[in-house]
Each structure stands twice: as C-alpha cells, then as structure tokens.
C-alpha cells in the first residue's frame, strides 16, 4: 500500500507540471499585448507596465516565467492581478461558495440517485425501473445549461417557488435548485450504476444464502446487498466530488453564484492571466488528489482489491 501510494504520488508530478505548464503557456502566450484594455481607453502608463513586467518577468522567456511562478506558488503566493488585488484573496472569498454548492449537489445526487438506483435494481423491468431508465437517459443527454435554464424559468420565474438567483448569503434553501442542476447528470450515472450493481448482486450466492437462512428481506438488502453493491457508487461519488470542487462554470453563471468557476470565467474574459493560471492550478491539484483518494478508497472498501 505504501509503495503504491508513493508510486501514484510520483506519477502525479509530471502530470501536474505538464498540465500547469500547458495552461500557463496557453494563457500567457496569447498573441497580443497583455496590457491591452487593462487601463481603460488611454492605455496603461509606462511605470505600471514596468512594474508588472518586472513582477511577472514578462520580458523573459516563458520557461523563466513559469519557473518563477512555480517558485512563488510553492511559497503560497498565487500572485496579484493587474489591478493589484491578491489572487489568494480571490480564491479565499470564492472557494467556500463553490464548496457549499458542491456539498449540496453531492448530497442531492447521492440521496436521489441512490434510492432510484436501489429501488429500480430490486425490481427490474417494473414500472419504476423503466421510469428511472428513461429519466436518467434524459438527464444524461441534456446539457447542464439547458437543464439550468428550464428549471430556473419554471421554478423561479413561472411558479415563483424559489428565487431565480442566489443571494450573497448563500442560504441553504436557495442552493437546492442550483445543486440539483449541478448534480443532475451525475445523479443519473449514480442511479444507473447502482441499478446494475444491485441487479447483478441480487443473483449472487451470498444473497441466496442470506434469504435461505431466513433473514428478513430488509436485512438482506440493507446489510448484505447494499454493502457489496455500493462500492462502485462510492467511487463514483468520490470522483464526482473532485469534479464538483473544480467549480461549476455554467451553473454558477446561470444562478449568479460567486464561486470559483465564475471567477475563472470572468478572469478569462477580462484576460486576467495570473488569476486564470492560479485558479486552474488549484483546481487541477484538487482534481488529481481526489482521483488518488478515490483509488485508495476503493481498496479500503473492497478487501478483495489490494494494491501491492
């Protein structure tokens, strides 16, 4: 286990460097003047240009720029934007909002997805099973922004059940709709995976044994069947949490949530290169670590899997 962990962590290093360099290169080698449009119509004053060029080593090669950026990064300094705001500050204010939304989305998709999957897996080809199959197909096929707009219009505008956008306080009730939208596709995947897994294990010998020795059905399902069937679902949830914490550019945009996804989109549109690179670096690290965690979780949950 220890050696496996070490190998995985070592494998992360080239991927981390490769991904961040790719982003850095794409963002900073944008053809054109990095100061264009930064200081209004009159262009940036020369001393501003000098300070920023020195700070970001803009007149040196991309390798030097990247190396010095990485050096700062490992000292916990994400840099500053062209307007002088610390990027650490941007991340610190917006990341909690993203996390809140991610937790709400994960809870919703786990609860609904799991119960739909378990119920339909236990009664295959019943009415509920077909309903789940059709509705998950829809959820998988629909792009997030279509789901978001339609639900926002229905619940927020037409019926007025919820406020269409989320306020700055991020109250829990306001987050239910965005959370549902964000988790909708994964919810469908979870339902399908749980269904297949339950249906497969339903025919397993140990389930037959449990029924044969006279255990009540509730115990057979709750203890024997669920514990064995939930392993793929848990890993799916873990991967998804990694993805959700990567921010939801589209969902956050539709519902006006001031999260990390919205910040990165704003930064890209306003060409705030330093912010883009920093946020992407954070997101990639979170994503890579979550994937590693899921693999480890897999072994912890299923004793049949052992990494040597």
């Amino acid at each position: 286990m220890g050696r496996y962990l070490l190998r995985r962590l070592l494998q992360l290093i080239p991927v981390f460097i490769g991904t961040t360099f790719l982003i850095y290169w794409l963002v900073w080698s944008v053809p054109g003047d990095p100061f264009a449009g930064k200081c209004g119509d009159r262009g940036c004053p020369d001393n501003f240009r000098e300070v920023m060029t020195a700070k970001y080593h803009l007149n040196e090669s991309i390798w030097v720029q990247y190396a010095s950026y990485m050096k700062n990064l490992f000292q916990g300094d994400f840099g500053i934007t062209f307007s002088g705001r610390s990027i650490n500050d941007i991340i610190v204010t917006s990341y909690p909002n993203t996390l809140k939304l991610a937790v709400v989305a994960l809870t919703i998709e786990a609860v609904i997805g799991l119960s739909a999957g378990v119920l339909s897996g236990l009664r295959r080809n019943g009415f509920l099973d077909n309903l789940v199959l059709v509705s998950t197909l829809f959820l998988i096929a629909l792009p997030v922004f279509v789901v978001g707009f339609v639900l926002q219009w229905l619940f927020g505008v037409k019926w007025g059940i919820v406020t269409p956008t989320v306020s700055n306080e991020m109250r829990f009730t306001e987050l239910i709709l965005p959370g549902f939208v964000l988790g909708s596709a994964s919810m469908a995947y979870i339902a399908r995976v749980a269904r297949t897994s339950i249906a497969e294990n339903r025919r397993a010998d140990y389930v037959r044994t449990a029924i044969a020795k006279g255990l009540p059905m509730r115990r057979v399902v709750g203890v024997h069947l669920l514990r064995n069937s939930l392993i793929p679902v848990v890993t799916l949830l873990g991967t998804d949490l990694g993805a959700l914490m990567g921010g939801a550019i589209i969902t956050e945009g539709i519902f006006g949530i001031n999260g990390i996804g919205r910040q990165v989109l704003r930064a890209i549109v306003t060409k705030e290169s330093a912010t883009v690179v920093s946020i992407v670096v954070v997101l990639v690290v979170v994503y890579l670590l979550m994937n590693l965690l899921v693999d480890l979780l897999y072994a912890a949950l299923d004793p049949r899997i052992r990494y040597e």
């Binding site: 991904t19 197909l137 096929a141 792009p143 997030v144 279509v146 707009f149 219009w153 993805a243 939801a248």
Partner: protein, 325 residues
C-alpha cells in the same frame, strides 16, 4: 473529465462501462454460427438492432437531422440570417411557427439552419477523437513499455484538464474577442479543442481492449504464420477492438452536440453569422423572462438531437454486448 458540467457534456465511460462494452466481442458467436451461415459480429448486431423500436426511432430522428443539415431549404423558405427589427420578439403564430427573435429573425428558419453547424461540428470532432485516440490507444497497448508509459502520461495531462475550463482557455487564446477568424476557422478551432480534450478517453478505452486481445490465440497464431505488425493491427486487432469504440463514438456525437452548444452559449464557440442551436440559446438567455419561447425551440431541437444519438448508442451497445443476449 472533470468539471461537473463537463462530465455531463462529454460522458466519460464510468469505471463500470468498459467492462460492460469491452466484453469479449465474439463470445456469443460459435453457437449462432453453427445453426445458420456464419455471421460476423456486426451482422449479428444488425439482426438484433432491427427488432428494436428504440433503434428505429432514434435512427429516424438522426436521419431527419442529417437531411436538415444537408438541405435546410427543404424544410423552410425563411431567411435565417437577416431580420426585420419591427417584428422583434413577436410570439409564435401561423406565419412564423416559432416566432421571431430579438433581431426580428425567423426562429423556425434559424432552428432548421442551426442543425448544420451543430451536427457538422459534432460529427467531425467525433471522427477526429476516434482516429487520434484510437491510434494512440493501439500504439500504447500494442507496443507497451516506455511508449505506453509516455503516451499514457501525455493522456493524463490532457485528462487532468477540466473540460469546460480547458476549452475556454484554448478558445479564448485562439478565438478571443480581438481575432478575426472566418466561419470555417472558428468551426475548425471548436473541433480541434473538442478533440484535444476528449482523445484521452478513447485512448484508454482502446488501450485496454488492445491489451485484452493482444495475447489472444488468434493473434499469436497470426504472428506465428509470419504476419507483420501492420497486418496484425489492421486485420486482427482493429476489427476485434472496434465494438466498444463504435458504441462510445455514437454516444459521443450526442455529447459533442451538447458541448458545442455549451461553448457557443458561453460566447467562445461559434459566433454569428454562423447559426447554431447554442448561439440561439445564448442569445435567448437575456430574454428568458419575457420571451421564453426563444429559448425553448432551439433547446428542444438540441435535446432531441442529443437524445437520438445517445439512444442510438445505447441500442448499439445492447446489440453488441453478448452478455445481454
């Protein structure tokens, strides 16, 4: 695939899927082959497919959309690009079934013409992803060793990029507000960024099925008979690894239609004067409270198209999977 929205846009095969669709593709054959004249895997699948209503429904829709993309004038005589401001946001009527948009353009005509860009981008990106990912997967799986290691790490790098984020960075770099790319260049850029961000998935799929087949007896036999690498790959490996790729490819067309719409919706994909469903939805979003019909018609077409391809993929998967027979 990482961004949650991305996860839904390009549906990555989840951990379970490869085993499901990557199952030994010719396992169910001998039994059938003995009874009647021998049929290949595809012949078998085709026989299975013909009996499925789901297949016929989705195939009909896809055919309809393809005809719509190729000959939009068959469906409408309206003008999709020019409008009259005096009829801005006029509600649907018998004159214009879907109403008029903010610029007074016929929404019905635009929706019909929108099929072309959406479907073209999705089809070309799918072909590109399958070719690049498939080739990389075969090389990595067949060669093994350091080639496999190197290609897998490169794939990891692109896999580590959240989809929407990666596409935004690539497209704003090459297709930002200051650039003056023409229609075809923009379309090319969108296709390239979809391919660049999706090939690792196909590569992993292909690599694992090559690894599974590479040591099979018929490959060993072919090698013993003196077949070269090229012949083994083309004649033996490729046909036997094609099934999962075919299924994933079909579903991918659907996801790419959605992905193209998402990028256009964010304002970094296709742009006016190109007409696409994503652009229409993006333009409609500001008027969602006063004229929701502007949003619903292109969205309905988009959803139907995506659903058709995803359903076709599901039908093909069921037909190709011997376990479900």
């Amino acid at each position: 695939m990482s961004d949650p929205s991305a996860a839904s846009i390009v549906s990555t095969p989840r951990p379970e899927q490869p085993t499901e669709i990557g199952a030994p593709t010719n396992a169910g054959l001998p039994e059938n082959a003995r009874k009647e004249k021998p049929r290949g895997l595809l012949g078998d699948a085709w026989r299975d497919l013909r009996r499925k209503p789901l297949f016929w429904i989705s195939a009909t829709f896809i055919l309809l959309f393809v005809v719509m993309a190729a000959f939009p004038s068959l469906f409408t005589s309206g003008d999709s690009v020019n409008g009259t401001l005096s009829r801005s946001r006029v509600e649907p009527s018998s004159d214009a079934w879907f109403g008029y948009d903010v610029q007074g353009r016929d929404v019905f005509a635009r929706t019909i013409y929108g099929a072309r860009a959406s479907i073209l981008v999705a089809l070309l990106s799918t072909v590109g992803t399958l070719v690049i990912g498939g080739a990389m997967g075969i090389i990595a799986g067949y060669r093994g060793g350091w080639v496999d290691g190197l290609l897998s790490r490169i794939a990891d790098i692109f896999f580590g990029l959240p989809f929407v984020l990666g596409a935004i960075v690539i497209l704003t770099t090459f297709n930002g507000s200051g650039t003056d790319n023409n229609e075809w260049q923009i379309m090319g850029l969108v296709i390239v960024s979809l391919v660049v961000l999706s090939w690792p998935v196909v590569m992993r799929l292909m690599r694992s099925s090559v690894l599974a087949t590479k040591e099979a007896d018929y490959i060993v036999a072919a090698r013993a008979l003196g077949a070269g690498t090229g012949r083994i790959i083309l004649k033996h490996l490729l046909p036997n690894c094609l099934a999962p790729l075919l299924v994933y490819g079909t579903i991918m067309v659907g996801s790419f239609i959605g992905a193209e719409a998402t990028l256009s919706f964010l304002g970094i994909g296709l742009k006016t004067p190109v007409v696409s469903w994503g652009i229409m939805i993006s333009e409609a979003q500001n008027y969602i409270r006063v004229s929701p019909f502007l949003l619903f018609f292109p969205a309905a077409f988009l959803v139907t198209a995506v659903l058709s391809f995803v359903m076709l993929g599901e039908a093909v998967r069921e037909a190709l999977d011997p376990k479900l027979r």
